[in-house]
């Protein structure tokens, strides 16, 4: 089976620091993949590259879409190089994405994400948060919206229905008209996942979804993540520090340390992998 996401030789440099050094891994379609590693290993940097927030200095991120494989890195618009002048096709592509490219194109290709520090639209209602996420699916014609034409009303009603379905899934339907900022922390986390899912992604990236949750909420979160895969056929990539959660839900775990992949295997094998143990616990010589 062809992987949904292929990360090839991804490299990111911040000044003199090599945040990511030729990272390679794959995410199988329909799987839950865990991305773990000690603090500062580069997990969030990988996420920011996948979701179009950082421009990588090298390598590619290939996403399988119905229209064929797309290199997400080019969607951001790469820097011009002198050698591009010899390749008119490449120059044209870079010019186009330089002007019109950006993070939004990555989302439109089918990647959604949540954030480590929750980023909801706090002063908007819970339901409106989900409607904003469906921006691309609704009728955006200004005239038909002002005049409330039937086509606009139908699209809007469908969007509200879909939002309510997601609220039911994450058990927030009684808060639909509350301000998102007034929800409790655990509810905000679930709302953010529902909002990301409202963009109908092929791949959803969760950045530390269990941070700040109590054990009961963490168990519910694990059920929710399984549900995303089983009922909504989403592929999940999750960064998490809670090892018991990662090991229980993932099919595949990728371990990063110092910007490099040190292991990628099934959870069972990862738990006994010598390099992983060394990264987390330290080796005997250094200890």
């Amino acid at each position: 089976m062809k992987p949904l996401l292929r990360v090839e030789d991804l490299s990111v440099r911040f000044g003199g620091i090599m945040a990511l050094n030729k990272v390679n891994f794959e995410v199988t379609e329909g799987s839950i993949t865990g991305l773990i590693g000690p603090n500062g290993a580069g997990k969030t940097t990988v996420f920011n590259c996948l979701t179009g927030f950082y421009r990588s200095q090298g390598g590619a991120v290939w996403l399988k879409t119905p229209e064929g494989e797309v290199n997400l890195s080019t969607l951001l618009g790469a820097k011009f190089r002198l050698e591009d002048l010899g390749q008119p096709a490449k120059l044209l592509e870079k010019t186009y994405y330089g002007f019109f490219g950006g993070t939004h194109l990555v989302t439109r290709a089918g990647v959604a994400r949540t954030f480590q520090n929750i980023r909801l639209f706090r002063e908007m209602s819970v339901l409106e948060n989900l409607l904003v996420a469906q921006h691309l699916l609704v009728n955006r014609n200004i005239l038909s919206g002002v005049l409330q034409l039937p086509s606009y009303r139908r699209a809007e009603e469908a969007a509200v229905d879909r939002a309510y379905q997601w609220l039911k899934t994450v058990k927030l339907e009684s808060y639909a008209n509350h301000l998102a900022g007034s929800l409790s922390y655990g509810n905000q986390r679930r709302l953010e996942i529902a909002r990301a899912m409202c963009t109908s992604p092929r791949l959803i990236c969760l950045d530390e979804p269990a941070a700040g949750l109590n054990p009961k909420e963490t168990r519910e979160l694990a059920d929710l993540i399984r549900l995303l895969r089983e009922e909504h056929r989403a592929t999940v990539l999750v960064i998490e520090h809670d090892m018991s959660l990662v090991m229980s839900i993932s099919d595949h775990v990728v371990v990063l340390n110092y910007g490099q992949v040190i292991a990628a295997d099934r959870p069972k094998a990862i738990q006994e992998h010598p390099k992983v143990l060394a990264a987390y616990l330290g080796t005997e010589t250094t200890a």
């Binding site: 950006g102 639209f121 002063e123 908007m124 339901l127 409607l131 919206g145 002002v146 639909a176």
Partner: protein, 412 residues
């Protein structure tokens, strides 16, 4: 800070009085007399007395009760059904539209200026209240609209009705011109750049003598309606309105016409912005105000959203400018100083960011109140300022709080 101890209160009052003396003494206590000066401590002593009295009030009055209580109100559906709201809207509109019949000429001119500020407030409300982009140069678009009418008449022979869409488009284009360089800016930096933009427009109008007439300004023709003119004798080649309909000429005819057209424009804008707020584009503006990064992660193109907010706001400002020029019959750069931008921003903030009712109320308040205060002549601006400060103390989030659209749960 709050204390019940009378001694502490006395000390605080003494400190306030001393501070007032130190600050006002040299400024108002010394009167220049040729090369000499005379000491006149009456004024500073009175001012210090005021300061001490104010400090006493602060100490004695229960100031906490002025502060708003932070309570989370449970969301509730709109109090009025759609047809009730529509009926109310039409009743208010009809009442306003009949004003020229029963109101005085003086108040029509006051209301025209008030409605122009309502329009400006509605435009800036999109940029500042909804999209959260602090714009201190909004007067630039107002000027573009006003000069668009005057220049369009001078060079292109464009009438009032041609000028309305042209000015909206031109101002929208200027909005995009301002929007592009500030795409990456936020908050204070954005405010400085937009402030500069407003000043640039004013300085160009002031200094380009050959084209804009510079400080001398330009004439703007009185508007016509379907070729009828609102003058005693036609001089633009049409028939006067009163002759066409066979009634006595009165001097308030032109103002009455401008007032009615303006009222229709305000009503249409109100409805349009009300709809926009519930539409994908309005939701995107508010989402951009709340969190730009989250917006991008949801597939929203923040460039388009920002530019559309700037352009939409600028267009409304441009239309307001055309009405201003038509009403004054004359435009000059003096009318487009930074003070106007600040006033419009005050309207939006005082009304409650994003709220349409708030913008209308505060625009009416801020334009009509100075008229009512004419009795106080010299202290007009002072009373005006005190009223604004009081409102912001009692209602720090503006007169009317923005309410979220309510979505009813559907049983399925």
């Amino acid at each position: 800070m709050r204390t019940k101890n009378p001694l502490h209160i006395l000390i605080a009052i003494a400190v306030a009085g001393l501070a007032a003396l130190v600050m006002t003494g040299p400024l108002s206590g010394l009167i220049l007399d040729g090369y000499d000066f005379q000491a006149n401590f009456k004024v500073p002593l009175i001012l210090a007395g005021f300061a001490m009295f104010a400090r006493l009030l602060f100490a004695v009055l229960p100031m906490e009760r002025l502060r708003p209580h932070k309570t989370e109100l449970p969301p509730k559906p709109a109090t009025f059904k759609p047809w009730q709201a529509a009926l109310g809207f039409f009743v208010v509109f009809a009442l306003c539209a009949s004003f020229p019949v029963w109101g005085s000429k003086y108040w029509i001119t006051v209301l025209i200026m008030a409605l122009i500020y309502v329009l400006l407030g509605l435009g800036l409300n999109i940029v500042v209240g909804l999209a959260g982009l602090l714009d201190l140069g909004f007067v630039g678009f107002y000027a573009v609209g006003a000069y668009g009418y005057a220049l369009g008449f001078k060079y292109l022979d464009l009438g009032f009705w041609g000028a309305l869409p042209t000015a909206a488009l031109t101002a929208g284009l200027f909005g995009a011109v301002l929007g592009f360089p500030v795409l990456r800016m936020h908050g204070d930096y954005l405010a400085i750049v937009t402030l500069g933009f407003g000043e640039i427009i004013r300085l160009i109008l002031n200094n380009w003598l050959d084209f804009t007439g510079g400080p001398n300004g330009l004439d703007a023709p009185p508007p016509t309606f379907l070729g009828w003119e609102f003058k005693e004798f036609a001089n633009q080649g049409g028939t006067p309105f009163h002759e066409a309909f066979g009634f006595e000429y009165s001097k308030g005819l032109l103002d009455g016409f401008i007032y009615l057209t303006l009222l229709v424009a305000v009503a249409l804008t109100l409805y349009g912005v009300h709809r926009l707020r519930r539409m994908p584009i309005g939701r995107a503006w508010e989402a951009l105000r709340e969190d730009e990064i989250a917006c991008r992660s949801l597939g929203l193109n923040h460039v388009n959203i920002k530019l559309s907010a700037f352009m939409m706001g600028a267009s409304i400002g441009g239309v307001a400018g055309v009405f201003f020029a038509a009403y004054q019959g004359f435009v000059s750069p003096v009318s487009f100083s930074f003070f106007e931008s600040a006033l419009v921003l005050a309207i939006v903030v005082l009304g409650g960011m994003g709220s349409l009712t708030g913008v209308v109320l505060s625009a009416l308040f801020l334009t009509i109140m100075p008229e009512l205060l004419r009795e106080f002549s010299d202290y007009r601006i002072l009373v005006f300022g005190i009223a604004m400060v009081l409102i912001m103390i009692v209602k720090p989030r503006g007169l009317v709080q923005l309410r979220r659209p309510f979505f009813a749960v559907k049983e399925s």
